[in-house]
C-alpha cells in the first residue's frame, strides 16, 4: 500500500458503503482499499455485521406472553391510586379527562373512574394494622415500635409462625410492593427481615393457644368504612398459606408478610415472599381473602432491589 495514502475515515467508509460516495472521492477509496488490507478488512467486517442483522427475522411472540402482559396491565390499572395518577398525569390531561367526551361511554366511564379515585383517596395504599398475631392485640403501630434495620424483638421462631399482616384496601400488586418497600419503613423492615436470615421453617408448629397461626381481623382501619363498607374481621391460617406456597416453590420462598387487600379486582390475602436464590426478586401469592385451603389464584414475580 502506498505510504502516502491516508486511510479513509469512518464517515467516508460509511458513505462509500452506502453507495453515496461517487466520483473522485469514491475512486480514491477504491484505490486505497486495493492496497490496504486493514481498511478492506474493516469494510468487509462492517458489511458482514450489517448483513447478519438484516438476515435476522423478527421473533414470534412467545406463547402466553400476550396473556401475561394483559394480566399485568390489568393489575396495574386496578391499583392506580390518585396520588400516583396525579403525579404522572399533567394538569391539562386531568382537566381533559373530566370535561371532554372521547366516546359515548365517557359519562359512565368517568363516573366509574371518579368513584375509583374517590375510594382510593380515602385510604393509604398500605396501612399496617397488626404485628405478630396470636400473641399481640392488633395494633396500628406494631411495626413502628420496631426500628427499621434493628433486630426484631420477636424471636425468629415466633416470627416464623406469625408473619406481620398489612392492609391495602386500595389494591395491591408487585408495583405497589416495590413502591412501598422504597417508601415505607414498616414495609421495608418486614421485607428486609425475610431476606436477612435463614428461611423460616415452613413446617414450624404454630404456638399453642387460641387463634394460633391465625390473624384476627383488625378493626383499626378507621378509613376503611367508607371505601369498602365492610371491614369485617377475617382470619387466615398462615401455616396453610405457607404450605401452599412451598408446594409451588419448594425451598425457594422466604415469607415476608401478608397483605389483606384486593388483587386484580378480587378480595385477597396476598403472601409476599422473597426468593432465596435471587435476593432481588419478590413473589406475590394471591389467595382468596382469608382462605389458604386452596392454591393461590394468582402469583406475580417482581424485581425489587434489596433494601
Amino acid at each position: 500500500m502506498p505510504e502516502h495514502s491516508v486511510h479513509p475515515d469512518r464517515e467516508e467508509l460509511t458513505a462509500w458503503q452506502a453507495g453515496a460516495l461517487a466520483g473522485p472521492a469514491g475512486a480514491r477509496i477504491v484505490a486505497h482499499m486495493a492496497g490496504c488490507a486493514e481498511c478492506a478488512g474493516v469494510v468487509s467486517a462492517v458489511e458482514r455485521g450489517r448483513a447478519a442483522l438484516a438476515s435476522l427475522e423478527e421473533p414470534e411472540l412467545p406463547p402466553g406472553l400476550h396473556e401475561r402482559l394483559a394480566a399485568a396491565i390489568g393489575r396495574e390499572e386496578a391499583t392506580v391510586t390518585p396520588e400516583r395518577a396525579a403525579a404522572r398525569v399533567s394538569g391539562g390531561t386531568v382537566r381533559t379527562r373530566r370535561t371532554r367526551a372521547w366516546t359515548p361511554r365517557v359519562a359512565a366511564l368517568s363516573a366509574a373512574a371518579a368513584l375509583v379515585l374517590l375510594v382510593a383517596g380515602l385510604v393509604p395504599v398500605l396501612r399496617h394494622f397488626t404485628g405478630e398475631s396470636g400473641t399481640r392485640q392488633a395494633s396500628g403501630d406494631a411495626s413502628v415500635s420496631r426500628p427499621g434495620g434493628a433486630p426484631s424483638a420477636a424471636a425468629p421462631s415466633s416470627a416464623a409462625s406469625a408473619l406481620p399482616v398489612f392492609a391495602a384496601p386500595g389494591g395491591f400488586s408487585g408495583r405497589v410492593l416495590r413502591a412501598e418497600v422504597a417508601d415505607d419503613q414498616a414495609i421495608r423492615s418486614a421485607y428486609a427481615q425475610a431476606g436477612a436470615g435463614a428461611p423460616p421453617a415452613p413446617h414450624a408448629s404454630p404456638p399453642a393457644g387460641s387463634g394460633s397461626g391465625t390473624v384476627p381481623g383488625a378493626q383499626s382501619l378507621q378509613n376503611q368504612g367508607k371505601s369498602s363498607g365492610e371491614s369485617a374481621a377475617y382470619a387466615v391460617d398462615q401455616q396453610a398459606c405457607l404450605a401452599q406456597v412451598h408446594a409451588k416453590a419448594p425451598g425457594d420462598a422466604r415469607p415476608a408478610f401478608f397483605v389483606d387487600t384486593v388483587y386484580r379486582g378480587r378480595p385477597a390475602t396476598v403472601l409476599v415472599t422473597r426468593r432465596a436464590d435471587a435476593p432481588d426478586q419478590a413473589e406475590l401469592w394471591a389467595f382468596p381473602r382469608g382462605d389458604c385451603s386452596v392454591a393461590p389464584f394468582a402469583s406475580e414475580r417482581v424485581q425489587i432491589p434489596s433494601p
Binding site: 423478527e58 411472540l61 406472553l65 381533559t96 379527562r97
Partner: protein, 220 residues
C-alpha cells in the same frame, strides 16, 4: 378503534377508555419483545423486560408529549427497560449463561451452507457487542429506524448514532468472523470483551459483563 392512531389510543386511555391501552399492547408487543430479545439475548429476560416496558408505558402515559411519535416514546421506554433488566441480571447472576440458553433463543440448527450465519450465531455474536452499540444496531439495522429517530429514542446525538452503528457493525462482523474461524479475525478493539468459543458449537456465548469472560477462561 383499530384504525385509531397510537397517539389517539393513548389519549383515549388517559380519558378512561379501558380498552385503549390493551390495543396498544397488542399492536406493539411483538416488536417490543423482539427488541428486548435482540438486546438481551435471552427469552426469559426479554419477556420480563417486555412486561416492564409496557407497565412503565402505562405508568408514564400521562407524561407522553406529542412532540415525539408514540413509537419513539415506547421504544425509548423499552430500551430503558431492557437496560435495567440487563443490569439486574448482571448483578443477580451467579452462574454464567450456558449454551442452552442461547440455543433456546434460536433453536434452529446452524446454517450448513455457512454463507449466512445462523440466527443462533448472530444472536450470540450480538451479545458480545458492547451494549451501547447493540442498541443502535438493533434500532437501525433490525428495525430500520432512521438515524434521527434512533438518536431521539436513545437521547444521543445523531453523530453518535452513526459512529456507534459503524463500530457496532464492525464489532459484530468481527465477532462473527471469529466464531466462524476466519483467519485474521482476531483484531478487535481493546475495549471490547474477549470472545470465547463454546465447546461443541459455533456459538459465541456470554454476556457483556466484564467479569464473565474471566470466569469462563478459568473453566477451560
Amino acid at each position: 378503534m383499530n384504525d385509531a392512531s397510537d397517539e389517539d389510543l393513548l389519549a383515549a386511555h388517559l380519558q378512561g377508555d379501558r380498552q385503549a391501552f390493551g390495543t396498544l399492547v397488542s399492536r406493539h408487543e411483538r416488536r417490543i419483545y423482539g427488541l428486548c430479545l435482540r438486546v438481551l439475548g435471552s427469552r426469559e429476560d426479554a419477556e420480563d423486560a417486555t412486561q416492564e416496558a409496557f407497565l412503565a408505558a402505562l405508568r408514564r402515559a400521562g407524561s407522553f408529549r406529542h412532540q415525539a411519535a408514540f413509537s419513539t416514546w415506547l421504544f425509548r421506554i423499552a430500551i430503558n427497560a431492557a437496560t435495567d433488566q440487563a443490569r439486574r441480571r448482571g448483578r443477580a447472576r451467579t452462574v454464567p449463561l450456558e449454551a442452552g440458553e442461547v440455543a433456546e433463543a434460536a433453536p434452529s440448527a446452524g446454517d450448513p451452507g455457512g454463507a449466512v450465519p445462523s440466527a443462533l450465531a448472530v444472536q450470540a455474536a450480538l451479545r458480545r457487542v458492547p451494549e451501547d452499540f447493540r442498541a443502535v444496531l438493533v434500532l437501525c439495522d433490525l428495525y430500520g429506524f432512521p438515524y434521527a429517530q434512533a438518536a431521539e429514542i436513545l437521547e444521543i446525538p445523531v453523530g453518535t448514532v452513526k459512529s456507534r452503528l459503524f463500530r457496532g457493525r464492525l464489532a459484530l462482523g468481527e465477532q462473527l468472523a471469529v466464531s466462524e474461524g476466519r483467519p485474521g479475525a482476531g483484531r478487535r478493539d481493546r475495549s471490547e470483551p474477549e470472545v470465547v468459543k463454546e465447546r461443541g458449537t459455533q456459538a459465541v456465548v456470554g454476556a457483556s459483563e466484564p467479569a464473565e469472560p474471566e470466569h469462563r477462561r478459568n473453566e477451560e
